[in-house]
Structures are given as C-alpha cells and as structure tokens.
Amino acid sequence: MSLHKPYLDVPGTTIFDAEQSRKGYWLNQFCMSLMKAENRARFKANERAYLDEWAMTEAQKQAVLDRDLNRCIALGGNIYFLAKIGSTDGKSFQQMAGSMTGMTEEEYRDMMVKGGRSAEGNRVVGEDGDAQAHRQPQGIAGRAAKGT
C-alpha cells in the first residue's frame, strides 16, 4: 500500500519527506559540514575536491557547483541544509529564496515589501498563479524568455 502524500500537487513546492530525505542524505550532510569554519575554508579553496569527499551523485555535485537550489531540492536537498551553502557564499536567506523564483534580488525584495506572493492561483497545480510551472521563470527573466 502506498503512503498518503496529499502534498504532491502544490505548485512550485517540494515537500521534504522521508523519500526526499533518503535521496538527499549525503547532499544535506555535506551542507551540514559547512557549519564548521575550517570546512567552509576548504570548500571555498577547491569546491570540486571538497564535494568529491562526499558520497553524493554527480548530479547533486553539479547542482551545488551551479548553485541551482531548485535542482538541489529536486535531488533531495532541504532548504535549511542548503542555506549553509548560501551563508558560506555570504548570501542572505532572502537572496537564496529569491534565486529559486527566477526574479532578480530587487524584484523579489519588492514583492515581499508589497505583501509577498499571493496564494491565489497558487494552491493547486493547474491554476494560473505566478508560481505555476507555465509561468516560470518569473520577473524580467520570464518576460525576456517570452520575448515581451
């Protein structure tokens, strides 16, 4: 019998459950290691060499090198663990969260100051809100991609 997962149809959202956690175990444990200053220094000195010390998949390593947080999450990463990469890079949580929307840092900050992203159209896959797959990436990047 399969497990009850009522959260698979929330747009733009990956719930970090036991299955994701199992996939992402080494990716997340690598992130955890960045809480020590000496590990941050070693990672910064040679990212590839440091990543090769971990039993991560090649795809996970590449997603880290690319700082592609959406990809990291798809491959089992959890945002609270991935945040350690961001803080190693000197990025704020807002910069990290914003990077996953395709918006520029300024666009994302403005959205938050204006009250944040609305839940309207963003509750269930198939609606027309700005977090839905057919409306990615968001912001200037999205308009450029559509040629408008």
Partner: protein
C-alpha cells in the same frame, strides 16, 4: 508549585536576529517589525518569568539528518549558541533548568508522549531570536530556559492535534513541580512563509489573521487543521505554526478555567521572507 502564567507567540526569523546584531533596528524596514515588540519588552519586565519553556524548531543545526527527533526536551545546565554558517550570534549562552526539565520529561513520557531527552545541544536562531525580541540586547538572559525542539523540517511533522494534546501534558507536568516558579511557555515560528521553489515568498495575511483569531477563541478546533492546509495556505514553512498549538494547549482555559486575556497582538509583513506574528496571552 510551579505555574504557567502566560504564553507568548512569535515568529523567529533569522534576519530579525541579524538586524539586531548588526545594529539595523532603526532602519525603517526593521522599525516596523520591532515596533510590535515595544509593548512586550515592557510587559516581560513587569512579568519576569523564572523559566521560559521555549518551543521552537532546530533548523538543521543541532540535528542533522543523522538523528531526527520529533519532540526533544533539553535537560542540560546550559546551551551554547550555534554557528549556523556565519559564526555564532553574539548573544549570551542559554542557562537551562535541569531539575524542572527532567521532571517535565518524566511526567510527559508517562503521559504517553515519547520525548527525546537531550543533554547536549547548541541552540540556533529558532530559540535565540525570540529571546532577543523579548529581552533585547543583554549581557545575560534574565531567566532560565528549557529548550523544546519540534521537528518541522522533515515530513511528516507532528499534527496540530498532537501538539495541542502535548501542551496539556506539559502544563500538568509543570504544575506538579513543587518549587514556586513563574513559568511562561513560548510557541515560536511562522507565520506564513515559503523559502523554497518557484512559490517562495508566499504570504497569506487573511489566513494568518484567522489563525490568530482561532488560536485565541477556538484553539481545539484550530488544532484539527491538517498539514496540507498549512502548506497550501501558509506556505511549506508555514507548517511551523503547529508549534504555537503546544503553547496554547498549555493554557489553563483548555481544562475549564476562564479564557486568557489577550495582552498583546501584532502582525506585520514582511521580515525577510516571512509574515511576523506575535501575541501574548495571560492566564486568568
């Protein structure tokens, strides 16, 4: 005997701690956030707790994926401030209350809640930001703190109903401790926010304010709300709000006393990615 005199609810956004640590509290963006705590700082001076039972979540700090306890109670004498990747926050270490904490652990476990007992852990912004918000910048925290960490990182997290029932068991435990102590229970995290994916930045003002209304007036019904509603309406990280139900379940009206007094209520968007909610309820 020990008594729970009040419950305090607040978001614990890391950027709030950073704003205090970096001296940005007077900037207009942050002033709007901190103005909601002016009352509370005066209130807590008048109502100084001996012990704060502080419900929070660890953000992949003390608990990696090696060990994921659903409910963990700190029974240590003291707790170091964690390095979350940018060095530890410059705030005082946290002094525990091992006697009361052990007493609570024994009582609550006998009431069928299987707590994990933790004698060594560093505490992160989830615990220190609420202390900073209420007590400001200080050389030493003015009270003892029992950290109570709830897993809201890896699903499934505990249900609202389970959290609410746990709150009741915690109050029973505290009120069976012989020493005369003024105890406050703080529920932290939330309100609506999502930190991941194309849906990052979600905020739901109406839902949050309804949550506050119901937390005051009909907490038992609120505790029946399933996880999926939090995710859809308040964002994937909005699920942290189940922790507020532990604090609410520990108030004495739940077992028949008079309704608590709403001493303070505050709501503001945004602090970084998050809607900030804050409330103080005093037991009648």
């Amino acid at each position: 005997m020990a008594r729970i005199t009040a419950s305090v609810y607040t978001s614990h956004v890391p950027a709030i701690g950073a704003a205090m640590d970096l001296g940005k509290t007077q900037e207009p963006y942050w002033q709007k956030v901190f103005s909601g705590y002016d009352f509370s700082r005066e209130w807590v001076k008048r109502n100084r707790p001996d012990v704060v039972f502080l419900v929070y979540n660890d953000h992949a700090t003390a608990f990696s994926l090696d060990i994921i306890p659903t409910f963990a109670i700190g029974t240590a004498a003291e707790y170091a401030i964690a390095d979350e990747g940018w060095g530890p926050r410059p705030v005082p270490k946290v002094i525990g209350h091992p006697e009361l904490a052990s007493h609570i652990a024994q009582s609550v476990i006998q009431d069928d809640f299987d707590l994990t007992i933790v004698n060594k852990m560093d505490v992160d912004h989830g615990l220190t930001v609420p202390l900073s918000l209420l007590f400001g910048q200080t050389e030493a925290w003015p009270c003892k703190v029992i950290p109570f960490a709830v897993n809201v990182v890896q699903y499934p997290v505990p249900s609202g109903r389970r959290c609410f029932e746990l709150g009741k068991a915690i109050r029973k435990a505290i009120e069976s401790f012989d020493e005369n102590l003024n105890v406050q229970i703080w529920g932290t995290g939330g309100m609506s926010h999502q930190l991941q994916g194309p849906r990052a930045g979600l905020i739901n003002k109406d839902w949050d304010n309804r949550f506050l209304d119901r937390l005051i007036a009909e907490p038992e019904a609120l505790a029946q709300v399933p996880h999926i509603e939090y995710v859809r309406e308040a964002g994937s990280e909005g699920i942290e709000l189940v922790m507020w139900l532990i604090a609410r379940g520990a108030m004495s009206d739940i077992t028949g006393a008079k309704a608590p007094t709403v001493a303070h209520r505050f709501y503001h968007v945004p602090a970084s990615n998050t809607a900030v909610g804050h409330m103080i309820l005093e037991n009648a």
